[in-house]
């Protein structure tokens, strides 16, 4: 790319316009963090540590979020543990084993799944899944229900990412395997999947971040009780559901505490993102 020193005025104008757009875009992120910090600053200064306690009783001025942080993490981790293996194996199966007639419709269905709004998943969870779990283990609205719904939500993208990663592998790898008369399964297990692993992992980590950030669906199926769960059938409350539940009603310090949980969420996302970038190795994550 050549860069000339004397640019015609239109070009100079264009350059500044472009710089402005980029600045605005980057500034949005900065702006969000700044606004959150501005709102929560005094609170964090005076009682920042208290948010890591266990008792959430806004009416009494207690803002211990530990149980909700745990709720968020546990629901997302279980969802990931359920979704990731299914997504990866299904992607590999669709790519290397499935009859062509099955592959295209399935992938179309998966892309459709990826676009369905979370309220719809939540509605289905509330009307169908929760009463179903309730028959085995009341109350039904629980950590498990939340994880199941979340797993359904993150599965499509995890699958698509795996599919992309497998597709981007050098075709010579699988051909070499065929030439050596190795079973396709063996090649998959020892060469292809490990080769695609960094991209797959990076995509999976991003989906974990997405699970952490999910609000509406978990609000409707998790039970929303602020407690440390003893079993997967116990209800939990996530940080996100808490914000949605109490934001409209919260005033004063209570509201600031909610902003603190928002700040916490964005910080965790940043950490996860750094991890995903490291795993990927290069700078552009096409996600």
């Amino acid at each position: 790319m050549t860069i000339t020193l004397f640019l015609p005025s239109a070009d100079r104008g264009l350059r500044w316009l472009l710089r402005l757009s980029a600045l605005l875009s980057a500034a949005s992120l900065g702006g969000i963090v700044l606004v959150l910090l501005w709102r929560t600053g005094p609170f964090l200064w005076s009682q920042g540590g208290a948010v890591f306690a266990s008792g959430w009783h806004p009416g009494a001025g207690e803002y211990g979020m530990a149980a909700m942080i745990a709720g968020s993490l546990l629901v997302s981790l279980l969802a990931l543990a359920m979704a990731a293996p299914v997504a990866v194996t299904l992607a590999a199966w669709l790519r290397y084993y499935a009859p062509a007639a099955l592959r295209r419709p399935t992938l179309i269905l998966v892309e459709l799944m990826a676009g369905i709004p979370s309220v719809v998943y939540g509605l289905w969870g509330l009307l169908v899944l929760v009463p179903w779990i309730n028959r085995w283990a009341p109350p039904g609205a629980s950590w498990l229900a939340g994880s199941l719904v979340l797993a359904l939500m993150i599965l499509p993208l995890a699958l698509l990412v795996t599919d992309t990663a497998l597709r981007q592998l050098p075709p010579t790898w699988s051909r070499a395997g065929e030439a050596l008369a190795l079973s396709r399964f063996g090649v998959l297990r020892r060469v292809l999947l490990p080769g695609a692993a960094p991209s797959i992992l990076s995509g999976v980590v991003l989906q974990f971040g997405r699970a952490l950030g999910e609000t509406m669906a978990v609000l409707m199926v998790c039970g929303n009780v602020v407690q440390w769960p003893h079993s997967v059938f116990d209800p939990v409350r996530t940080l996100t559901a808490n914000i949605a539940l109490e934001m409209a009603y919260a005033t004063g310090e209570h509201r600031v505490a909610l902003f603190v949980s928002g700040l916490m969420l964005i910080s965790v996302t940043a950490v996860l993102l750094t991890l995903a970038w490291r795993l990927r190795g290069h700078q552009h994550a096409p996600q």
Binding site: L126, L127, P139, V225, V226, R237, Y249
Partner: protein
Amino acid sequence: MKGYWGIVALTAALAACGQTTDKLVLTGSSTMAPVIAEVAERYEAQTGVQVDVQSGGTGRGVSDVRQGLADIGMASRALHSDEGDLTSFTVAQDGIALIVHRDNPVSALSDDQVRAIYQGSTDNWRAVGGENRPITVVNKAEGRSTLELFLEYFQLENRNVQADVVIGENQQGIKVVAGDPAAIGYVSIGSAEYEAQAGTSIRLLPLGGVAARIETVNGKRYPLRRELNLVVKGEPADAARAFIDFAHSDAVADLYRDHYFVPAQR
């Protein structure tokens, strides 16, 4: 490119002519929002004044009215003693009913039994004459006036309540109880009766020996009643006054009855 600027210009033009003259903003109780929205629909059709009804909860309604962010607040409770700077106008009566699943054999609970259930000392339906099932206690989230009134009536503190499920809006509570034969919860009588009549599998329990029906709220026999109020700061401005009067009038009494509330006597 031209198309884009055209759209921007159009939006700006439309935005400019959108500044209407009279507009009222109401925020507050989510119990009242649906019925007041319908009242507002009729009012608009009659007078042309735009009325925006937002939800947000009783606490929000009170705070918005104080800060001037809303013209009228909707509060599903009586005003507290420290809310003397506000004036309230009761437009309807509602009650709070305990609901259980329709198939639950228990037909009534005493106040003490309810207290024990919500505090966790009774945790099986067997102990109150029902089947051998652990009780699923459904509680409302903090900040809702329904929760406040419930706790006040049963003299409970929220930190002592052992809930199994916490819900936000009335409908979520109803859906949870309808999906769980062992659940017990409490919601506005208006919503509960509506849904029960429509066939949802819930049943309202009597309180203090009085059946939970809108007639008993009307006759003032039902113990856990609550006012549905429109509140303003100080004295209402003309526009607000006109709407409040309309919300009181016979012209909209049928709307309240439609939602299973009792329209307030004028």
